[in-house]
Each structure stands twice: as structure tokens, then as C-alpha cells.
Symmetry: C2
Subunit: 221 residues, 2 copies
């Protein structure tokens, strides 16, 4: 069976897990505390981060973008990056939006400060960063709502890797109850993403000692 | 003609430019001061960053990874991301290494602090970050040397997007004279990358008031 080294509330890992389920692949999940470097893990991925996938033939894959592109090429059903080169560029632009812009402006400031600073015991959360995260997420929810007024899914007519990447980040923030869904149209889009069977293992996540807010796994939030 | 919106010493833009030259595409270069947001530019890319490419038919492409994948799909010669899915995953892993890990640990700390803080007039450079950047770059040069003992190019037998991404970052740091090449085998790899005709426009870069160090454009450095 494929092995996926992952970490709690890591959007990069959730992107992989969701795809795995959507593509009906089995993964053995192994939790890796990347902030306590292990030589055996560094031998798999000298970058020292997750996700890392070990294929059944022993081949090691690292880097979230490299992994999802590889799975797309080797297990094309269902396709999450299909269409013309221009359509694929639009999907990848939005994946980059969430993995870079949303990651810096929201995920790191909310999940990073509130959870990771605790897990890694690297001191107190930075309250200024948390305030900035709360302000920044509204711009992103406005952008999702703007897209949803024009498209069925984030990148166009079909569910794509862009929706998966966005949901990977938003679900981590939602675990803390920090997504102000009420004010935004994006809520109906997230309700559709959330009700997909492949989201179930993600919605069942629960960090010991830090349970999610009540609405986290609720499909009618 | 295609238009490329870019910025000085931006590895994300250099990656695009080098590919453009390698693929013999013509670009009209337009310098965009992303820290002074313009509505016209935000209409092209609401993320507000460079590179942005406007195709001859008016199509707009944003996000460095999306742009290089699009160019690879539409202008396949010379191929920079060829081979089996596993070989492509290795190329993308190394592109991620430089665009994420090297970017955070080196580029932002050296180029970001020394140059961008001056261009954007956002205060004094952070000397602790600069010291960290000088220390971190040695680990990366060791990794490049380790790869070079085993391979012809970073990702295998051929020049790929991994070499382009690495050179995009290293050339920006090298502009400041901050790459301690002397101690590392990676120097011979960089000499080969640097001597490619597509690097010429990059080596001709000169920011007004902040010229590069002497060895920057020197092929026998």
C-alpha cells in the first residue's frame, strides 16, 4: 500500500489526501512531526517537510505540487486538471493563489500561530498576526464569492484541483471556527465541496487535546 | 508580441524570461512596481504579483508555476519537463525546493532584505535575516554539489526546469555577490547554466543605482 507521511492541519497534505480519496487510492497515513527532524525521514525527503508519498514500488515522491501532478498523470480518473492548456493554466493559477497567497496571508497567521506554535512549542501565538489573518480572510472569501457569481466551480465548469487546494486551506482554518462564512456567497460552494465523500476522512480529523469547533464536520453549517 | 510584466531580481520572473529565451519566444518586457498597486495591473492579476504574461490573443496568464507549465505545453521545444511521470515529479520536486525552500531560507533574506527593502522604501534591512541567509545558502550549495556528484544536471541527464528555477534564484543572489561559489562543486554546474545564450539578457540586468558585482556576468567567475 502507498504510504503518505503527513501532519495535522497541513493544507499541503490535505490536498494529497483528498485527491487520494477522490481517485480511490489507498494510503497508509503516517504522522510525521517535521519539527523534530528524524534522519530516516530526511533520507526520504531532504527538504524535511510533508507530504511525502512512498509508492508501492518504493519510489519516493516529495513536494505537494509534484505529488498532485504525478497522481494526475498516473491515475487520471477522475481528472482534476483536464482541458486545454489555457484551462489548465487557470486551474494552476488558482492552486498557486491558495498555496502561496492564502497560505501566507491567512493559513500561516491563523493555523500557524494558533495551532502550530502550540504543537511545536515554539512560544506564544503572535496576536498581531492572528488579527491580520482574520482581516485577510475576508478578501479571499470575497474573491471566492466573485468567482462563484461567474462559474460553477472555482476554475470553471468542473471541479478541479483549484477547488481541492482552496478547500484544503479553508478546512484547516474552519477547524478553528475562523471562517466567517455567514457573510459570503462562497459558503454554498464550500457546502458542495464538503459534501463530497472524499472530504469525510478530513472532516473526521481531530487533534488530541484540540478538537474542532462544532460546525467543522457539519454538512449543513 | 507577448508581454511579460516583471520585476528586478525576481526569481519567479527570471524563470519565465529564461524559458522564453530558451524557447525562442519574443517578449516585450514591462517593469511593474508591484508594491505600488495599479488598478489596471490588478485587473490583469488580482493577486497583484509578477510575472504576468499577456498572450498575443489577449489571454492573461498569472502565477509563475502556471506560466511555465503553460509554455511547456504550448511551446514544447526545447522540452524542459520531459520524461516519465516519475522523472517529471523529480523535476517538479526540485523546482519546489528552490521556489519554496530556497526562496524562504535564502532569496527573501538576502535579496529581499538588501534590495527589495530599498526599492520599496519599507525601512532598514534586517541584519539578523541577512546573517541567516548567508548561513542557509551553504546548505543549499552543499545539496547542489551532492546532486552534481550523481547527475549531469540537477534532476538527471538533461537540463530541465529544475536547473532554470535554481539558476533563477542563484543568479539573483549572485547579483549581490552573495554566493560563496569557491567552496562548492556546484560552481561547475552554474558555469554551464550561465553560459547558455538564454542567460544573456538576465546577466545584462542592471538596476539603476545598484549595479551587480563584477563577477555577476563573468562566465569565468
Amino acid at each position: 500500500m502507498r504510504v503518505l507521511y503527513h501532519q495535522w492541519l497541513s493544507p499541503a497534505c490535505r490536498k494529497g489526501t483528498d485527491r487520494a480519496c477522490g481517485k480511490k487510492l489507498d494510503f497508509e497515513l503516517r504522522l510525521e512531526s517535521v519539527w523534530e527532524p528524524r534522519l530516516e525521514f530526511l533520507a526520504l525527503n531532504p527538504a524535511g517537510d510533508v507530504p511525502v508519498v512512498v509508492e508501492t514500488d518504493g519510489r519516493v515522491l516529495a513536494d505537494s505540487a509534484a505529488i498532485v501532478e504525478y497522481l494526475e498523470e498516473t491515475v487520471p480518473d477522475p481528472p482534476l486538471l483536464a482541458g486545454t492548456p489555457a484551462e489548465r493554466a487557470e486551474v494552476r493559477r488558482l492552486v498557486g493563489w491558495f498555496d502561496n497567497k492564502f497560505e501566507c496571508e491567512v493559513t500561516r497567521k491563523l493555523v500557524g500561530e494558533k495551532v502550530m506554535s502550540r504543537l511545536t512549542r515554539r512560544g506564544h501565538p503572535d496576536s498581531a498576526a492572528i488579527r491580520a489573518g482574520h482581516a485577510n480572510i475576508r478578501t479571499h472569501l470575497e474573491y471566492i464569492s466573485w468567482l462563484m457569481e461567474r462559474r460553477n466551480w472555482l476554475a470553471g465548469d468542473r471541479l478541479t484541483l483549484a477547488d481541492i487546494a482552496a478547500a484544503a486551506h479553508l478546512s484547516c482554518v474552519d477547524y478553528l471556527g475562523d471562517v466567517p462564512w455567514d457573510a459570503y456567497e462562497g459558503r454554498t460552494w464550500y457546502a458542495r465541496v464538503k459534501s463530497r465523500p472524499s472530504m469525510r476522512p478530513i472532516l473526521a480529523d481531530a487533534i488530541p487535546g484540540l478538537p474542532p469547533v462544532q460546525a467543522y464536520a457539519d454538512l449543513d453549517f
